[in-house]
Amino acid sequence: MTTISVKVEFSGGLELLFSNQRSHAVTIPSTDPTDSAPTNLQYLITYLRDNLLKERVELFVENETVRPGILVLVNDTDWELEGEGDYVLKDGDEIVFISTLHGG
């Protein structure tokens, strides 16, 4: 099974849910085992929830995507420009999750 490596970073308090570690190197299959489609961001979110998230799932995921108030950057670009969860991951991608729910 071929794999790809992506760098995942958490900010804005989200790192507290992931062992208080901001940066993670994640290796995931290049294709989704369930449907053999190329691995996309949606798969990564599920993977992070199932493998790296340590507590309080509801603060990260809602309805199988990130909960409102969490921004996602793909290689420093808003994921809304990249197709959100449908973005197909490439080896070496940098994915950043930023929580905006710190208050003002």
Partner: protein
């Protein structure tokens, strides 16, 4: 599937269609050259154009309010009358505000514009024309301070973040750090430090009574009790006495806000800047209205606060005024046009440290967090809708004939609530008032008695009439008037504060500790005593005396006067005589 009583043909049309996340192209709408990096309300911007976009929005919201004459010509430059105080909560908005204020007004290094530490970015500010020592380029504020109010004493188990915030502020070498604690609101020492005068009386209140009967705060009976009677313990008694989960964060928010206001006045600040973003402004507007704060909804966006009592004189933190008449402090929210997403992008691209702030763990189902959840979800799905909330609220005005309009006509706009010190927004031009303090909302108790469903036995002294449906035989449970009127806080409070202190949850979600385990009254923030002492004896709420009572039907300066008079059965028969059926 349509609902059983709906119109199946029309229902599909009434659904709001979700727009695509961005219009047309993925290229930047500004430079039209580079690929976009961020979508802001359907518009795409590259990183290079995003930085000046935010800087311009920030300045556009703040610059018109800097000079003593607001909205006047600014060709000769910006010069504030006093110093600057920035309220830092540790949250995202205030962290971004701190960075923007420093870059724009305090950091004169050539790379301060915001772009140089953003990869491939272009600064929004170059070396000032004529050199940095040219009089035109003098600092806008003579001094800048950053005030952080630590709230951990209000929430058991919360972490004290003061030192973390201190380290963050230390990175901004031209800004001074002013740490406060929320329990300072109950500290005579703090009140003296800000020069609060007249000296605060130690007041307590019976929170179980709708009238909020005032009394002297309990004096310690022995040495051990005296040692435990600290500002923190007073704060905790105050918090424990609040009737709902919603009231707790609301009360802490109010205490924090007033602490900042008095600190601003005491340090000679002409401006208090708060990091409320467009998203959090929309949340606070809706949550505020839901908690009865609709009367001051415009003030939530921006306003002017005139100290109700003399501050800043004699205290160690005193200053020789702030250059505004009556020491008025302008409260400005320069991020009110910038959403939370833009703030997060700015913080990420400038590598800002966001400390975060404590949230009240038990308030998940209270009005504030539920409103926030709703607005944040709305912002994701329909990004333009959130700004509509703020724009719509900005158009709201108090009903004609209410206290604000009446008193504006009389050139008296210094009505304040003794607890939250909110004043009706009278425009940034109007900062003067030498007229006595008057309560914020005339007639609020009469109105509350008319519209709210509550036990008549709990109605307090304001229920000076018996409703027609109240049976004669139950006369014994009618609240009997007190032999001598007890001093009441109720007429000096706005509707929102009165509701915060007295409105009980139908779920009984908090344990009511009031008036205290040993019968002690609940302590009040120090400025309440100061405000009451400064209040003239005839300034009772609802147009009445200091005890807050008003003669029924008394003609005051309110635009709308309701007269309630109990009719005897014979008079009633006369009124309805034409409609009576013959026996």
């Amino acid at each position: 599937m349509s609902s059983s009583c709906g119109n199946p043909q029309a229902e599909e049309d009434t659904l709001m269609l979700r727009r695509t996340k961005f219009d047309r192209s993925k290229d930047c709408v500004r430079c039209k050259e580079r690929a976009g990096n961020v979508v802001v309300r359907h518009a795409v911007y590259c990183k290079t154009c995003f930085v000046p976009l935010i800087a311009v929005k920030f300045r556009r919201a703040l610059d018109p309010h800097i000079n003593p004459l607001p909205d006047g010509p600014r060709r000769k430059g910006l010069k504030a009358a006093g110093s600057l105080l920035l309220g830092l909560s540790g949250g995202l908005g205030s962290s971004v505000l701190l960075d923007l204020v420093n870059r724009t007004y305090f950091d004169f290094s050539p790379d301060a514009g915001g772009g140089d530490d953003v990869k491939s970015g272009a600064g929004v500010k170059s070396e000032p024309r004529g050199g940095r020592d040219h009089p035109r380029n003098a600092s806008v504020w003579p001094a800048g301070r950053v005030c952080y109010v630590e709230t951990c004493a209000a929430f058991p188990g919360a972490r004290d973040r003061t030192e973390h915030v201190r380290r963050v502020v230390a990175a901004y070498d031209r800004l001074e750090f002013v740490p406060l604690r929320v329990e300072d609101a109950f500290s005579s020492a703090w009140w003296a430090r800000v020069g609060g005068a007249p000296a605060s009386k130690d007041l307590g209140v019976d929170i179980t009574n709708q009238d909020l009967i005032l009394s002297a705060a309990s004096t310690p009976h022995d040495a051990s009790e005296s040692e435990s009677d600290t500002p923190a313990s007073r704060l905790q008694r105050y918090i424990r006495a609040l009737p709902t989960q919603t009231a707790i964060p609301s009360a802490v928010h109010t205490l924090t806000r007033v602490l900042l206001l008095y600190t601003a006045a005491a340090t000679g600040a002409s401006h208090l800047l708060l990091g409320t973003s467009l998203t959090s402004l929309s949340v606070s507007l809706i949550a505020g209205i839901a908690q009865g704060g609709g009367f001051a909804v415009r003030e939530e966006a921006q306003g002017v606060w005139v100290p109700g009592v003399r501050v800043g004189a004699g205290g160690s933190g005193s200053a020789n005024g702030n250059g505004h008449e009556n020491g008025a402090v302008r409260v400005v929210r320069p991020l009110r046009d910038i959403g939370m997403k833009e703030c997060a992008m700015w913080a990420w691209w400038h590598r800002l440290v966001v400390v975060g702030r404590e949230k009240f763990p038990g308030a998940k189902q209270s009005i504030g967090p539920l409103t926030k959840e709703f607005i944040v979800g709305l912002e994701r799905d329909y990004p333009s809708t959130v700004s509509t909330v703020a724009r719509t609220c900005a158009k709201l005005a108090p009903k004609k004939g209410s206290a604000t309009t009446t008193n504006n006509n009389n050139n008296n706009n210094n009505n304040i609530c003794m607890l939250c010190e909110r004043q009706p927004l009278s425009g940034l031009l109007t900062t003067s008032s030498s007229t006595p303090q008057r309560p914020a909302q005339d007639g609020v108790q009469d109105w509350k008695a008319r519209i709210s469903i509550r036990s008549f036995a709990d109605a307090g002294s304001f229920a000076t009439y018996r409703p027609p449906h109240f049976p004669e035989r139950d006369l014994s449970i009618t609240p009997s008037p007190a032999p001598t009127p007890a001093p009441s806080l109720t007429p000096f409070l706005c509707y929102a504060c009165h509701t915060t202190l007295t409105s009980r949850s139908s779920r009984g979600t908090t344990v009511r500790a009031a008036p205290g385990p040993t019968g002690h009254p609940v302590p009040l923030p120090v400025w309440v005593g100061g405000n009451l002492a400064a209040s003239p004896p005839d300034s009772g709420g609802d147009g009445g005396g200091a005890d807050g009572r008003r003669e029924e039907g008394e003609e005051g300066d309110v635009g709308e006067t309701w007269v309630r008079r109990r009719m005897d059965p014979a008079s009633m028969r006369v009124v309805v005589a034409d409609f009576l059926l013959d026996d």
